[in-house]
Every structure is written in C-alpha cells, then in structure tokens.
C-alpha cells in the first residue's frame, strides 16, 4: 500500500522509514506541493494514482490544491490533511501570523476575504477525509471542519539518535566542562514560550544561587537569548544546526527544559520531550497536552516561577542521579520513539483512514441494483426460456457420443499441429491446440 505525503518530522522521517521496511506492506512517496498543483500531469499522476492514502501536509493554500483534493477523492483515494501547528491562534510574535491570518483569500466569486490562508485551510479540511495531528487539542479545534480525526505523533530518525558522543566530550568542545548546562532549542515560533510561565524568573534565581549553571539557548531567534534576565557569563548561544546534527547538541545538555505558555503552545507535539529522552537528558516541561503521554518519563510542572525554580533546583542538586536515570531510559526511548520501531502505529492509522473512507463511500467497483415498486417483470416460463432469451440448449446427443466427437476433434488438432514445422526442435504449433480446439468445436457437425 502506498502513502503520499507532501516537513522532516511529519513527512520525510516516516516516509523514509516505510520505504526501509516495505515488508510491512506500506511504502511512501513524497510530492512537493507544486506537484499536487499539477495533478493532471502524467508524471505526477504516475506517482500519486497508485497511492492508497494521500496526505496533504499543511499547505492547502490555493484553489488548485482544493481541486486536487476533490480530484483524487474521485479516484477513490482518501485524502487527509496533516497539521502540526495551531495556525488558527498564532501569536503576534510568530512571523507567520500575518500570512495565515491576513493574506487575501480570493473565493470563486472573485471576492477577497481576510484570513486568507486559514480560509483555504478550513475549506481544504471540509473537503478532506479527515485531519491527522500530533496533538489532540488541535484535532478537537478543527473537528468542526475535518470530521474525522486521527492522532499520530512524531517519531525520530534512527540514525541521528544512535552512537551519540558522550556529554563530557561535547562539553569539553564547547568549553563548558565543570558547568551545569541547562539547554533549550527551538524555532522562531517559541518566543512566547519563555514569557508568562515563570521560567525567566526561575532562571534568574537559579543562576544567582548556582554560579556553575550556564543556560545554552539554541536556535536562530535571538530574542529568547537576549531577553533571558541573567548574566552573559551564565548564558551561551548556539545557532541553528542541520536536523541531523541537532541530537549532538541535545546530548550536551545536563538538563533540558521545554516551557509552554498559553493555548498555542498547548497544541505542540511531544518532540522536545522525546529528544531529551533519546539524548539521555533529564528534562522539565510545562504540564499539558504535548507531554501528557510521556509525563511519567520526565518532570512536568505547572507554570509559575516557584514551580520552575523548585524543579530546576531538584535536578541540579541530584544531577548525577537524574542523569543516571535518564541514561537508563535511553533503550526504552529508542524502542518507543524511533520511527522504525513504531511503524505499526502509523500503519494502524492509515488502515483506519482507508477503512473509514470505504465505509463512508462504499467499496469501489460495485454496482447496486434496486427493485422498483412500479415494475412487474414478465412471467418466467422455463419451457420457453431458451427460445425467448436466444440461448443455446444442450444438444440432444448422448454423452458418450459427445465425448467421442470431442476426443476425435482433440486428437485431430494435436496430430495436425504435430505435422507442422518445428522451430529449434520445438513443435510450436502444438501450443495453439487450446485455441484451435475451440474453433474446431464450433464447426457444425456433419456426421
């Protein structure tokens, strides 16, 4: 069975994993959104039409993509949308807010509406056969449009999270040997995550009490680093790295943090938590939906400066114990969060998507006939049915005679074929006995 996915975590990682394990019965292809837009092109169709499930990852941003959804549904394909971000409640600090909320939306009547990209997204969800998301709140948010909801988390690349260098080695390279590194990394969508939840105040208190602590802030958003109210001697900056190199940065952390603030953050996936687990890093996160399923494998705190301070203090005071526990959890993390080990989860979701589509749309290739109340068929008379229907009855000849004639026909055809020239020693015309006997059998018998 085939998937089509149109991002690293949501698309590339699971797609590659399925293709590595085709014995499970699934394989996957990725098509760029521009390919979906060109859905009538033979080359694009060669890729898409064999698929069993088509997944649009996020970017339903043009009317032609809505047409593509309808088109592939017409070919009997379930088309589902995948979303891993709460586009409907992007904070102002997120550079994408303007695009999703304010770009013009040209509808078929030529009118332009605000909330441009969101309108397309909602219309796409309504057309689709369901929504896949790594967050249950997000599924609930869009239930009004999507109908069916499918919960499917993120899972990590196997090669990136194996054979990681030792923490001591990584710290020596950065020059943080002897320090306690509290680490965090994220994209430009995380600015609000450090406000309003007390982590900045807790960081200040911890740093005053523990001069050996260094906060390592990773990512390309300078604001989080700059606005952390601690001395420059106790914070360091790591710019963004390629995805495959990120695990080596995580593995350097003595303690990892994953603060959340507000409803937007509550709609994230569990990525940070599983990264810490795979990296053998003791971690603290805000209580909530993103880390609910792995709460027992980390420390979750309600937001507030005191709660964060207490949790950080506990980790620092008992660092060796915490790091030993985190290291012991790595095998479990590998089994539970590496994508190749969890493909059955994906397969179950995709099979459900297929089954739901079939139940809602019926199986293809079946014609349904309905009796009509206003129609009375002609009476059936077995004595005249052959004549009436123009059918050929069995000849009134004894079976023994029929067998004799058939045997004679068959022997003749085989012998005749055997007198024909051979080709490289092979009596090739004999291969045609099967067809020839059917022709000869239909010759009227002249006795």
């Amino acid at each position: 069975m085939e998937l089509l996915l149109a991002s690293q975590w949501r698309s590339l990682t699971p797609a590659d994993a399925f293709n590595r394990h085709q014995d499970l019965g699934w394989k996957s292809k990725l098509v760029h959104v521009s390919g979906f837009a060109d859905f009538l092109s033979p080359q694009v169709q060669d890729i898409i039409v064999p698929a069993d499930v088509v997944i649009f990852q996020r970017n339903i941003l043009h009317r032609v993509l809505l047409d593509a959804i309808t088109y592939f549904q017409g070919l009997g394909k379930p088309v589902v949308v995948d979303l891993d971000d709460a586009y409907q409640m992007l904070p102002w600090s997120n550079p994408a807010k303007n695009f999703w909320h304010n770009s013009p939306y040209p509808n078929p009547n030529g009118e332009t509406k605000p909330r441009g990209a969101l309108e397309f997204l909602e219309e796409g969800l309504r057309l689709s056969n369901g929504l896949i998301s790594p967050n249950r709140l997000l599924l609930k948010d869009f239930e009004y449009a999507s109908g069916a909801s499918y919960y499917l988390q993120n899972y990590a690349e196997p090669e990136w999270w194996t054979n990681l260098p030792e923490r001591a080695e990584l710290k020596e390279k950065r020059g943080t040997t002897g320090k306690i590194v509290i680490g965090w990394g994220g994209s430009v969508s995380h600015y609000d995550s450090f406000w309003g939840n007390g982590i900045r105040e807790a960081a200040e208190r911890i740093c005053r009490r523990h001069p050996e602590v260094v906060w390592l802030i990773c990512g390309n958003d300078d604001r989080i680093y700059s606005h952390l109210p601690i001395s420059n001697t106790q914070k360091a900056r790591q710019l963004g790295v390629a995805p495959q190199d990120w695990p080596k940065v995580v593995a350097e952390f003595d303690i990892g943090v994953a603060p959340l603030a507000g409803p937007y953050d509550q709609r994230r996936s569990w990525i940070k938590g599983i990264e810490y687990l795979l990296g053998g890093v003791p971690w603290i996160a805000t209580t909530g939906e993103p880390y609910r399923d792995i709460a027992h494998l980390g420390t979750l705190v309600p937001n507030g400066a005191d709660a964060w301070e207490d949790a950080l203090e506990d980790k620092i005071t008992n660092l060796k114990r915490e790091q030993d526990i985190a290291r012991d959890k790595i095998p479990l993390a590998q089994q539970s969060f590496i994508v190749d080990n969890q493909l059955h989860v994906f397969a179950a979701v995709f099979n459900k998507i297929k089954a739901d589509f079939q139940i809602n749309n019926g199986l293809p290739g079946i014609i349904y006939g309905k009796a009509r109340a206003d129609f009375e068929p002609e009476p059936y008379d077995p004595a005249t049915v052959y004549e009436k229907e123009g059918l050929h009855p069995k000849p009134l000849i004894a079976d023994e005679e029929m067998i004799k004639r058939q045997t004679a026909n068959l022997n003749f055809v085989e012998k005749w074929a055997g007198t024909m020239p051979i080709v490289n020693g092979v009596p090739v015309v004999r291969a045609l006995t099967y067809d020839l006997i059917q022709l000869v059998n239909r010759v009227p018998y002249d006795g």
Binding site: I359, L363, D399
Partner: protein, 424 residues
Amino acid sequence: MTADEKDRIIVVSGSKDFIPIIKRLASKGYKFMTVDQTFAKTLADLDLPSAPLSEAMAGVQDRAAYETIKILNAAQKPTSVQAPTTNVSEFMRNNAPIYLYSRIMDLNMVLLALDRVQPELIMVHNDVEPLLRCVALWARHNKVPCLHIPHAIYQDINRGGPGTDVHDIVTASHLAAAGPFQRDWYVKRGFPAKNIRETGLPQHDECTKQIPQRGEARRLLKLDSHRPVVVYVATWPQATNLMGINDEWAVCYLTFLQAIRQLPGVQVIVKLHPRAGQDNFNWHKQKADEANIDYQITAIHNQHILQVADLVFAYGGSNFLLEAASVPGVRLVTTHGYEDDNEVLKIPIDLEMMQRLIQVALSMPAPDMLPFRLKYIGIPDGRASERIADFAEELTNAKGKIQRHPVTGRGSKTVSSELSKVPG
C-alpha cells in the same frame, strides 16, 4: 541482465498468485523474466528483479519471420491427418493459415528469446494456453524443468474422462498440486507421480490470513446485518469442450434470479469472474434488473464477499466454492460438480426446487468443511507459497539436473539468406 545473472533466471507466467513465491526466490538471488509484459511492470513496482522476456527478443525478428513463413506455407498444403468430419477438414484448410498468421510469429519470438535467456526454471499457472504451452514445450525440448502451479483445480464437469479434453494435455515436467484430489487428477492424465508435490496453491494462502470482520464487511458492502446474504458465482460458456458449448449456465442464473424473487428477505451479490469482460457484466446486470430484485454486482472484493456470505451458489464446479469453504459458516451450493462431496449441496436447475433448497440450506447449519478443504486445497496453513518456492529452488538445484540438449539454429539469420537455401 548481465552474464553473471544468466544462470539464476526463472521465466514466469503472469499470475499475481506467483508474487509471494517470486519474493521468496528473489531473496535467494534469483532473477525473473516474465512472459507477460504487464506482469513485468507489476514485479518492477514491487522492486523485484525482473524484466519482460521481450527484452531478449532484439534481433530475432528475422529468424522468427522465416520460421513463421515455413509454418504458414505448410499449413496451406493438404494435410495427411484425417479430419473427424468434412466440415472440420474444410475449416482447417480455409481458416487455419489465417489463424496461425496472427499468432505464430509471437510464439516463435518467445521460443527464440528463451534460447537466448536459457532459464534455470520455468513457472507457469497453466500449460495449455498458447503462450504458456509454448514455453512449456520449449522447456520440455530443452530439458529445463517446467513447474506448473495450477491457477485452478479442474474437475470432470461438462466433459469426459482423461484424454478427452484439452486440459488433459500435460506439457510441464513438474506440478505443484493443491491437494490429494488434484494430485490424483493429474496422475490419471499421465503426469509422473514422482514429479508431483502436494504443496497447496498460493491463491489459497490468502484465505487463511486475516480477513475483515463480518460486521465491518457487511457495513462496507452496505448490507443489512440481520438478513441472509446469498452470493451467486457467475460464469460464462467455454468452447474447449463440446459438452460445454451451451447456455445452461445462463438459464441457471435466470432461474436463480426468479428463485430469489420469491425469497424477498434475501440479499444477493452477483460475483463475476474478474476476467469475465464487459459483455458478461452487462448481461448479468441486465437480467438482474429485469428480474426486479435488489442486488449488488461486482467482479472484485472476494475477501469481503466471502466474509458476508451465508450461502454461495455456483453453476458447475467453480473454484470459488473452495475459497468459500475457508470461511466458517458459509453453505456451499452447486448444480453439478463436487459429486462425491456431501459438504456441497446439489440443486437442480428447476425454479421450485431451487427456491425451496436455497431456503432450506439457509436454515441449516453449515457443515464442517475441513475434510473438504484438505481434499481439494491441502493443508490450510497459509504456507503454500513457501513450499512452492522451496520446490522451485530444488528444481533449479537438483542433482543430476537434466542435461540440456545443445540447441541448434541459434543466432540471427536473415530471412533472405535462409530462403535462398530452400529448394524450389
């Protein structure tokens, strides 16, 4: 194909039932060439090492044409073989060359391609259809093992005993038999018993694997879960035997439709053969409409249909009944065939009898089908493909593998150069 790969080539016919077998053999390093062009694409899409046999046909056209002309010339001459009737004699004289003209060139190309490929083994799903008998004949002449993995279990229905029907002609050297019934069937037709292995057939492996739940299958097929479901297995006439050239199959269907009209609670699915063709489909649909019943008609979704069926009705010895026997609780009904098997109820083509017996059958519990299955399809453990793959591998590795005869006439020869040697 590289020279190193040549010794590990298996030529296969285009049966999708072979795919699990091919997968197993591919994992052991075998490569495949397909007689059927489309099947080559199917295997390529599954990333199995394969190519169409046509890839080995480059440059053989001239030689194939030369051989074709020789055959066509011979076909136009009076034959020494006595025809059974004057009409047949005249038919052959007037029509045989025309028929051969359209077919023999393809077969000659296949033979010459096989001469080049020199496979270790040939696997076919029957050895009677022209292309497949052609490759089997090549195998026989070149003493290459040819394994017949039957696509169906034949019975003596609408025909006489051994030696009277085209399906009795055995060309393959080895047979993977479904079970004891099929083994005996072929032994009676002269197949050497020592070359037959009871492996089960790959198409029956699916029956033992997980199939949809009955409730879900009924939902998928939009059926009422409280009313009985009768599946009618449609067919069409075949002219391979004089005793089958009639339309009793059609009257059986028409009678069935009338019987169902008098059983208003019954839900009907008409299951067509996947290769039945559009005319066959249209005819079955039209007659169901004329009978004014509720019905579904389809050529696919076997597994779902079997899961929802309470009773499966087939004209003659349909193999679909063997698949149905794998589903607990399904009652099997036929007009003829399975004569010695009490598990299959026989119903005459009579409206009143048919209606009553369908009603009675639906009210009876289904019999235990295990002995029936063991007889026809062997041990139902879902491992037929494994056993057949092992058998195939043995055939390619067997000690004392048959010495191949040196093949003469290889290499390209132009038509003109050969014709110049033909006297007169």
